[in-house]
Amino acid sequence: MENAIVFKFSEGDINHLQEEAERTSNSDVSKSKNRETDSNFLKKEVEYSLEDSKEVLANVFSGRDRIYDEKWLLSENVQSRIVSVSDSEVTVDCLIDISNRLFQHRVFPRRLFDNVKKLDKGGFVLIKTKAKPGAIRIDVYPGNGIVNEKFFHLKDGWESLENEKLDEKLTQW
């Protein structure tokens, strides 16, 4: 089907997709450019103004350890709230189904959370799990700004029972 298909879409779709294609194919080139400029700090100062984020962003990701080309069959990003923290483990409420507000209580080793600075009860974390036969990988990220706190406010109509005296002691039995 090489060069044979012609899309006739409106709204500038194709130009947009083509741009994406070019950007993806050029991404390795831009990475190597960044590496070249890292070696010459003085030159860097001349080339980029303080407002330019290119070098700053390149350094943000430089220290991360990653294994590329590893194929995982299942990947989940689970928004979670910390329920309790002990010396050895952290218990969290994992929102396993956002649409239906289904939670699961899960316990993880404390060490997994060492990168979370504020490990307090009620705090939010994002738990990323990836699995394949015989292996699982868990990454924990601080959830501020990522986790939608509203998902964890479960009133679900209970407020309509307010002042219905359901919480009063039964005295007439």
């Binding site: 089907m1 090489e2 060069n3 044979a4 298909i5 012609v6 899309f7 006739k8 879409f9 409106s10 709204e11 779709d13 194709i14 997709l17 083509q18 994406e20 294609a21 950007r23 993806t24 194919s25 991404s27 831009s30 990475k31 407002e51 330019d52 984020s53 290119k54 962003l57 943000v60 990701f61 991360r64 990653r66 294994i67 590329y68 080309d69 590893e70 194929k71 299942l74 990947s75 989940e76 990003n77 689970v78 928004q79 929102l95 396993i96 189904d97 956002i98 649409s99 994002l126 990323k128 990836k130 990220y141 601080p142 501020n144 700004g145 990522i146 986790v147 939608n148």
Partner: protein, 262 residues
């Protein structure tokens, strides 16, 4: 496909026609198609101050990404690209749209807690909370599929032409080297397009409008068969995970109709 299956069943009853079956099997398509890469876009009213708020808005998500790129920096059309190399996807956010491009089987991402929900829709939720955010205008799903077809590459075009084109089209050139069919459906609120034709191997995937995110899985697609590109565009006023699941379902139905026809 029905014809092929019918002949197979017949063969079990009447072993004498095994020779016929062998001939048919030679041109048989594999049962499962593979979606190689897909792109899901949500378009909204232009956010005029996007460049002023974009970094603050996206900064929490940077820790999930493996790299970030800023295009048209400081301009009204500033665009941020978050690359998630390890998971083979990227998210682009700009003043008029947010898109996610993912390499892998599209069905896997209709499960709860997939990357469509977090971080893609989480970022959209944060955008929608902005004071300057207008309305969601429309969504677009574009996906590439390939299906293996056990046939000599030199006979692929001829086989496809016989199935999908009439003889008049086949005879335009004495020797046809490539063909494709484009089918469009434009309704009031939606548009669908499927384009399909012979597929000669993984190198073709690198030339399509929806390019691959990485070349990691390229060898998995190094076979010949049929390639299909589908698009589904829909006007909507709100987007959530169910919207994505629904559009994938409609898209899959369109794709399955093409595979059935072949």
């Amino acid at each position: 496909m029905f014809f092929i299956r019918a002949r197979e069943e017949l063969c079990l009853t009447f072993p004498l026609i095994i020779l016929t079956l062998v001939t048919i099997r030679k041109y048989r398509m594999s049962e499962n198609s593979k979606s190689t890469v897909f792109q899901f876009e949500v378009r909204y009213n232009h956010i005029l101050n996007f460049s002023e708020i974009s970094r603050r808005l996206l900064s929490p998500f940077v820790k999930l990404a493996s790299s970030i790129k800023v295009d048209n920096q400081g301009s009204i059309e500033e665009r941020l690209v978050l690359n998630f190399d390890e998971d083979n996807y990227l998210i682009t956010v700009s003043w008029d749209r947010i898109l996610i491009k993912v390499q892998g089987a599209i069905k896997n991402f209709t499960e709860s807690n997939s990357i469509i929900q977090t971080p893609f829709l989480s970022i959209l939720d944060r955008l929608m909370e902005l004071e300057g955010f207008g309305n969601v205008q429309n969504i677009l799903l574009a996906a590439n599929y390939v299906k293996k077809f056990d046939c000599d590459k030199s006979k692929l075009v001829k086989w496809f032409s016989e199935r999908a084109l009439n003889k008049a089209v086949e005879s335009v050139f004495p020797e046809t080297t490539d063909v494709a069919v484009v089918v469009e459906s434009k309704m009031k609120e939606s548009e669908a397009t499927v384009s399909f034709g012979p597929y000669f191997g993984s190198s073709e995937l690198l030339k399509r409008p929806i390019s691959l995110v990485s070349n990691v899985d390229l060898e998995d697609f190094d076979f010949s068969g049929v390639m299909l590109e589908s698009k589904y565009f829909m006007k909507v006023s709100e987007v959530n995970f169910s919207t994505f699941v629904d559009i994938v379902k409609v898209n899959e139905e369109n794709v399955q109709r093409v595979w059935k026809m072949l």
